[in-house]
């Protein structure tokens, strides 16, 4: 049975971000929010490709990206599995994170947001994230 209460991912074909990256970002988000737990099985590349409406290579590339980060375990002949690493998450401090944040702030500023508005946006995103994480059964933590 399916359903909207299951972990779900959102893709946007109109976005400039490649779909494989959107899929990887969404699954990473599900893991971070505790909606996908350690050992949770992921759909096969064929199944997810059919559900999203993309070529299975696109899904395979998303899974490979997550596997390279150490967040997903790819097993020959079996479905991929979420693997939450014991050691600190490898891409926690990815070198381009600061650049991506700066870029995001630049675009908000160009769109007319001032410092107060940007603080609101970030606070809102943090609130949403940790609320979802608390609802997902994971440790709520604190911001």
């Amino acid at each position: 049975m399916a359903t909207e209460t299951n972990p779900s991912i959102t893709v946007d074909f109109d976005s400039a971000v490649p779909v494989y990256r959107q899929i990887a970002d969404e699954i990473r988000g599900l893991v971070a929010r505790g909606e996908l737990e350690d050992g949770a099985g992921l759909p096969s590349v064929r199944q997810l490709g059919s559900q999203v409406g993309v070529n299975l290579n696109t899904v395979a590339r998303a899974y490979r990206t997550l596997a390279d980060e150490g967040l997903v375990e790819l097993r020959q002949g079996a479905s991929a599995r979420v693997r939450i690493p014991d050691a600190p998450y490898r891409s926690a401090m990815a070198p381009d994170d600061e650049r991506r944040l700066d870029d995001l702030i630049s675009r908000w500023v160009l769109a007319g947001a001032d410092r107060k508005r940007i603080e609101e946006l970030i606070r809102g995103a943090l609130d949403r994230f940790f609320a979802a994480r608390a609802a997902g059964g994971a440790d709520g933590g604190g911001a």
Partner: protein, 359 residues
Amino acid sequence: MTLVARLALVVSIASVALVIHWVARVSHPRRLFFIHLGRELSDADRARSRRLVWVNALVSLLASALVFVAEPSGKLVLAASLAPLLPTAWMLGEMVGLVRSLPVERVPGRFTVPLGEQPSATSYVSAPLQVANLVLLVATAAAFLWLLSHMPDRVPLHFDLRGHANRYGSPTGLWGLGFIQVFDTLLMWGVAWGMSRERWALPPEHAERYAALQRERRALMVRLIEWLIIGTNLSISIMWLAIAVAVRAARMPGLGLALSLLVAAGAMFLPLVVYLRPLMRVQDEIRALAGSEVLGTHTSGWKARGLIYFAPDDPALLVPKRRGIGQTLNFGRPAAWLILFAVIIGAPLLSFLATKLLG
């Protein structure tokens, strides 16, 4: 030509006319011929509807009169029985013309898909209807088997319009009708399977309500097909047994055939009357929530003003129709052509094979 045969022919002409009338009349401020226009109906649209209503009424009245007044000469009766094809073709022409005049909007590219399993085909079918259909098929086959054991080897199989037998053969050829019922049933299961395979794409802002609407849309669609197929199968069962009983007595099947036609007419009309309106209501809400009736499909795949879906880069085999109800095939996938071929030649092929193998 007996009175019963004339009446049966008039009933079938009238049932086609009723369906066309029901589609043609204006029954919604923004929809014509069950096609959502995305705007209020104009005077030209209303004139289109009136024209078809009149042509349909006129042709079917003339055809019905012809059935009663004509001498049972083959040609006039044939003309009368083919007459409903004219308003039908007219209606299809109007529908295509209307669709061609409508703008094709972009399909929103943003949607949510659950990672878990989708509802299965069995969650859309009705258990009592499925059991009733299987019981009907088995009971008819058993009754025919019993009749067959009490029949001579050669019986009249075809009659001219005056009721004289003009073809004789083995009665085992009548198994072909049972094979058509089996094919119908497979088609019904195919529709339920197809509805369950549609992409479970939800608008992120209204995911829960939209999911409930999609489940309702799919269940209504499957229920409509279930009733259509069971009605058709009931009609075939009556025809099958009526023919078997009649040829056993070497006479033309009269009342049974008329009854079978009547059931077929009801089977075509009643499910449409009951299920089309709720389906349209659900689809309107789906369109309003998602901004499109085909969320999850690729905008670039919609060709011919949204009439045909051809998207080789989309793994989906079946997608919702952009106009009207139900589904269409993704002709960008080879399997779609195979399915189309199987559906077109399936029933005649099964019937032919049955006659060859059993006859």
